[in-house]
């Protein structure tokens, strides 16, 4: 899938010094990253990290307070960008008095020349929903399916999903993830999925954007980010970190008794008696969430190019 859709030269999303302020609080601050087109990106972070704010910015629903965010090089919500972006907000609002058929008709009426009725109808039919059912009578999960059908029908080039699977049962979640991946693979869609449920992202996503406290902590290919970190386990006594760690960046170190477990960004081989292994995605994310002071890490492909050009 990655081989087919990887388009390293095209940029789907690019943020430079992006900030959003709500009254006194900054929801996002000084965010810079780049998301290459064709990736399936997990947008991860604790509650209130700014995930939803970032997605609504990309959807053109709000303006940044400072810095910029571009979608395919254009302003989100611009006339040539809006048709190429589909967005599913967390609360999945739909008109309750509409039937499913009405809702899909709305998608067709509001997306002239783009709408893929077949894709939308298939998504609905796969859930066993009849097109005459009223949205107001559907369960939360069924409404999510209709909202996803509306998003798929738009044939987007970027699909922004805010907690899409939160109210789906495990079976429906599995089906919808499969449908999503098929959609992304078939049309080389760039997908951004915000979630704090790590399980629903593992295996599905090839790109990662971790934000916490409104700042980017990790950005890049999942494989590269995992490879850049090493999980070290060994015996260590005494206060402070072992001396041999000094030349590496320690993200987090925890001692249980005499055993020390540390996640480090190793700069060369680590001396001493340490069992080294590559961390799992979950270990990587949890370590970064527990250690808010660890320096951020952006993979080369996630460095914003406009910032580089400006600096050059």
């Amino acid at each position: 899938m990655t081989g087919l859709t990887f388009q390293p030269d095209r940029t789907a999303l690019e943020a430079v010094g992006l900030g959003v302020r709500f009254r006194r609080r900054w929801a996002l601050r000084d965010c810079s990253f780049r998301l290459p087109a064709g990736r399936v990106c997990a947008l991860v972070g604790p509650n209130g990290a700014g995930k939803s704010t970032l997605l609504s910015l990309a959807a053109g629903l709000r303006r940044p307070s400072e810095g910029s965010l571009t979608v395919f090089g254009g302003r989100p919500g611009a006339a040539d960008v809006r048709p190429r972006v589909a967005y599913l907000s967390q609360d999945k609002p739909l008109y309750p008095q509409f039937t499913i058929a009405d809702t899909l008709r709305m998608g067709r009426e509001l997306n002239p020349g783009r709408w893929d009725q077949g894709a939308a109808e298939r998504t609905v039919a796969d859930g066993g929903l009849s097109s005459g059912a009223r949205i107001g009578d559907l369960s939360g999960g069924q409404r999510t399916r209709v909202a996803l059908a509306l998003a798929f029908g738009k044939r987007p080039e970027v699909l922004l999903l805010d907690e899409p699977m939160a109210d789906l049962d495990p079976l429906a979640r599995h089906e919808m993830t499969a449908a999503l991946m098929a959609q992304a693979a078939e049309h080389a869609t760039t997908v951004v999925i915000a979630s704090h449920v790590l399980a629903e992202l593992e295996g599905a996503c090839d790109y990662l954007l971790l934000i916490a406290d409104g700042r980017v902590r990790l950005a890049g290919e999942v494989e590269d980010l995992l490879a850049a970190h090493t999980l070290l386990v060994g015996r260590h006594e005494g206060p402070g970190l072992p001396r041999e760690f000094a030349m590496h960046t320690v993200v987090e170190a925890r001692a249980t008794g005499r055993q020390l477990t540390a996640l480090v960004r190793a700069d060369g081989p680590v001396a001493g008696q340490w069992r080294a292994s590559e961390p799992s995605l979950e270990e990587l994310l949890l370590a970064h969430l527990r250690a808010p002071d660890a320096p951020p890490l952006l993979a080369p492909s996630a460095e914003p190019r406009r910032a580089l050009r400006a600096a050059a």
Partner: protein
Amino acid sequence: MSATTVSRTAAASVVRRPRALGITWVVRRQHRTAAWIALAVLAALCAELLWLRGAMTGYVAEHGLAVPCRPEGDCAAFTAAVDGFRLRYGDVLGYNVLLLEFLPLFAGMFVAGPVIARELESGTYKVAWTQSVSPLRWFAAKLGLPVAALLVGASVLSAVFTWSWRPVGHLDDGLLVDGTRWYEAFDALGPAPVAGVLFGAALGALTGLLVKRTLPAMAGTAFACVLLSWPLTTVRPYLVDPVTTTRSASSDYPPSLHGGDSWHYERGMTTPSGGRLPDAGCIEAAGISRCVTRHGADGWYLDSHPPAHFRRLEWAQAGLVAAAAGVCAAGALWRVRRLCP
């Protein structure tokens, strides 16, 4: 994605679709139920007014009320017939007037709540704004279509009511329609309801955009409409220069405020220097002439509008209300621009 579903999709995309209507289809579908109900109510009211006109003109013809009773004639039968007319049609006319007077309020509440605030409250605007239509165009359709429909409906209803009221409105010095004379039914006649609905809708749009919650927006609009109708009725007589009659204070009695078909809206005392003392409480005082002398007045004045001023007053008020609607609409537009990303 099996082969069968793919071929089904291909077949579906070949099927001819109905003509694309864009955002207007969505707005029409949203308010379909409300539109049908409003249309049914409008039809029922028109039928009722049609009947009312026929019944009233029939009664007038039957009892010979078209010509006022001359003093030398037998006025007992005439008076009884007038009483009968009022008994039969007075209340019906009154309720129709009341309904038309509240039309701007209903329009405002509808625009504030179901049209605007409900979208912003439930977040459904996010769905519309993330399709291929710009928020500005969405707002334009969202407000334009219902407001146009409301204006058409108000015009029809006002025209039919005015048409029903007119054959009896000025008969016998307005005696038949006492309580719904032209200056009492002012807001239900001619262009007044249409201008009122335009204002109500603009106010509703502004309130909905500011409050963003359905019920508070509706309540706020209703409250503001009632509140603003008070200054309107206060300034109404001053929109057109009145006919002023004066009377010397030597004739003991002040001129009557009961003017029949003429609207006597203000009386007071005049001073020798030409100044005016609007009602100084002398009317109720025991010795009117003594009271007049005490205030240093030497005469009475009465400001009134004869029926001939009706049309000019109606259009002057409609202009004023439309200007107020313009102010609200400008506020709503400013708000829309603030809300649009």
